[in-house]
Every structure is written in C-alpha cells, then in structure tokens.
Symmetry: C2
Subunit: 180 residues, 2 copies
DNA sequence: TGATGCATGTAATCCGTTACATGATTCA
DNA sequence: TGAATCATGTAACGGATTACATGCATCA
C-alpha cells in the first residue's frame, strides 16, 4: 500500500469536496490525525498533480473578505485509484517516540526533567483522547470512523493508565530519596 | 530534542561498545525497536561523523572467518552530548498507520481484504509483544528498559484486545449478510 | 498595531531509505 | 549451489518539512 500525501488527499476527498486548506485542517482535527499528518508544502503540489492526472476536479470559489478558494472534488477515476491503493495489505505501523527514547535512557536525565517529560506526554495523550471524543459527537460516525475511534481510544487510554502509574511510582521514589 | 540516527547511535553505545552492524541488529530486536528504526545507510555515515567529532572512538577488531569489525565506544564528550540532546522536552509521538487508514475508508474494500488486513495487524502486534517478552528475559532489566517494556506491553495488549473484538464483530456481520 | 486565521504556492533543505558494490563463511 | 549471516560503505533517489513570499480581514 502506498500511503503518501496523494492517497491521503484522495481519501479525505472521498467524503466530500474541500480546498487544500480545509484538507490540512480536517486532517489535523479529524479522525485522520491519530495516524497521519501532512503539511501545506506537500498537500498543494499533490492536489495539482492529482488534478492533472484526472483523479480530481477543481472549481474556483470566490469569497468576500477571504482569499479565493480552490475546491477539489474526487472523480470516478480518483475513486478507482483510491480503491486500488487501499486494497493492498497494509505496511506495518510506524511509531516514533522521543519520549520512550528518553525514558529508556533515563539515567542521563534528572528526575525533574523526567517528570516534566511524563507530564507533557500525559498532556499530549489526553488531548488526543479529547479530540477523539469530539469527533465522535460532531462527525456522523460511520462504521470506519467508529473503528478508528475505538482503536485510538483503547490505545490512548491504556497509555494514560500505564503512565499515571509510572508517574506515581516516580514521585514516591523521589520523595523516598529526598527523605534519606 | 533531536532524535535522529546520531542521537540513536550515542544512546545505543551508552550501554556498551558495538559495531555498526551490531547497532542495527540491536535496535531491530532490542527495546529500541518499538519506537525507532534505522538502516545501515544512515548508521554507518553517522558513526563516521560522530567519531570525527570526538564523540566516539573506533577500534578495528580482526575476526577469523568473518570480516573485520569496527568497534565503536562512546567518549566522555559523547555522553555529554547525549545528555544534552536528551534533556529537552520530547516532541510529540509520531504514529503512522496504513492499517487505520484502510479501516477508516473500509467502504472501498471488500470484507475479505478487510479481514486479511486485520489478521496481518494482529500478527504484527503479537510479534511485537513476543519480542518485548523476550527482551524482558534476556536483557537484565534496568529501570529504563522496564519502563519502556511496560508501556509497550500496555499499548500493544490494548490494541490486540480491541482488534480481536472488532474481528469477531466483522465475522458475525459478514455471516449474517451471507445468510440473507 | 500586532497576532491570528484564511488562502495558495514555491524553493531550499533535510533526513532518511533503497539499491548497489564487495567478499568471506556456513548451512541446507 | 544457492541462500543466509556477518560486515562496511557509497550514491542515487524520494518524500516530506521548513522557510519564504504574498495579502486581506478580524480581533484584542
């Protein structure tokens, strides 16, 4: 499966038309955001290219007060290309975590730096959870969205629980050492 | 925090000396593998560079039957550089999942493709869990390794549970539709 | 008046992977 | 004999991010 910005744009537009700007925002705070991100610098060229290939159509939308919009819509060929790209066994998930790298090498950092890192991580995780909950309410939850939301929620909840325990442990230990 | 191959090599070598080849293998099946990966093409140049900067030392080790090894060891300056790189608030975790992309857009794939994807995902997750369990036994588990192992296990276990349920649901639905 | 949001786009740059090149040994 | 493991390295290539460029409207 080729999971690049092209396929991502096709996927996003399969649910309705949108501009490049809206795609970026939609990815950032919709269901896609758990497992993907993309920048303007990659989205705009991809949309131009996909349109040239006939997988999308464009329509200029004039707006008063705001700059003009280029609204993209997926074509029949676009849907076919998406279906083809998506019908392949997915590659293994890729997960990169500076946080876990830090925790693995915790002997190089002070307890307060470690605590700060844990708190930041907890914060990030909780924000993600909140966003999922939001999506659940706003978007009409079709089966795919429910699947991704359930999966994300399960993973994030487990992370938070584990971290909260680790945090308590750390605080206890630090207090014990300070008391010596 | 700058989590690139350079920092990764410093981190790995902080636990003992190793060759480029051993670093690659060690990352692949040690605790690092949950949240990082790196190829030879990036490791070898990084080691050369770090040595030139005085953060590592090299020693050629002749071997009978096998090609010579270049064994790298971290220097005092290397440890300092690592500590500096690591004492910064970590960036947010990055997670990319073709699998979830597929599930979100499940209307474009057939039930059997979906089932195959789920089974592959379950397989990948279980392999990861098995590797963690292995690391738990082989490596002497210092606090950092235990932290990462616990975290990884919590997350992966939650994923597997959620997926198993989703799989049962899918099988039930497919059977019901076939019976119509 | 200065930041933020809306809106699009290009160019420089980074960071890494993949493929290639080389070569001995061991195991099936 | 052919694949796999050990071992190092370079070059081509890809894919994306960051920074830059532009410009109007709104809100504090």
């Amino acid at each position: 499966m080729t999971m690049n910005v092209r396929t991502l744009c096709l996927g996003f537009l399969s649910t309705g038309e949108a501009s490049g700007y809206e795609i970026k925002k939609g990815i950032e705070d919709g269901m896609f955001s758990h497992f993907i991100d993309a920048s303007f610098g990659s989205i705009y060229p991809a949309l131009t290219q996909l349109t040239a290939e006939g997988l999308l159509t464009v329509r200029a939308e004039e707006q008063t007060g705001k700059p003009d919009k280029k609204v993209y819509a997926i074509t029949e060929n676009g849907r076919k290309a998406l279906a083809r790209a998506i019908s392949v066994l997915p590659a293994k998930d890729k997960f990169k975590s500076e946080f876990l790298f830090q925790m693995l090498l915790h002997q190089f950092i002070t307890p307060d730096v470690m605590l700060a890192a844990i708190d930041k991580q907890l914060n990030d995780l909780r924000q993600d959870l909140a966003r999922i909950a939001e999506c659940r309410c706003s978007e009409q939850p079709h089966a795919g969205a429910r699947f991704v939301a359930d999966y994300g929620e399960a993973v994030l909840t487990a992370s938070v629980r584990c971290l909260e325990e680790k945090r308590r442990e750390l605080v206890r230990q630090t207090a014990a050492q300070a008391a010596e």
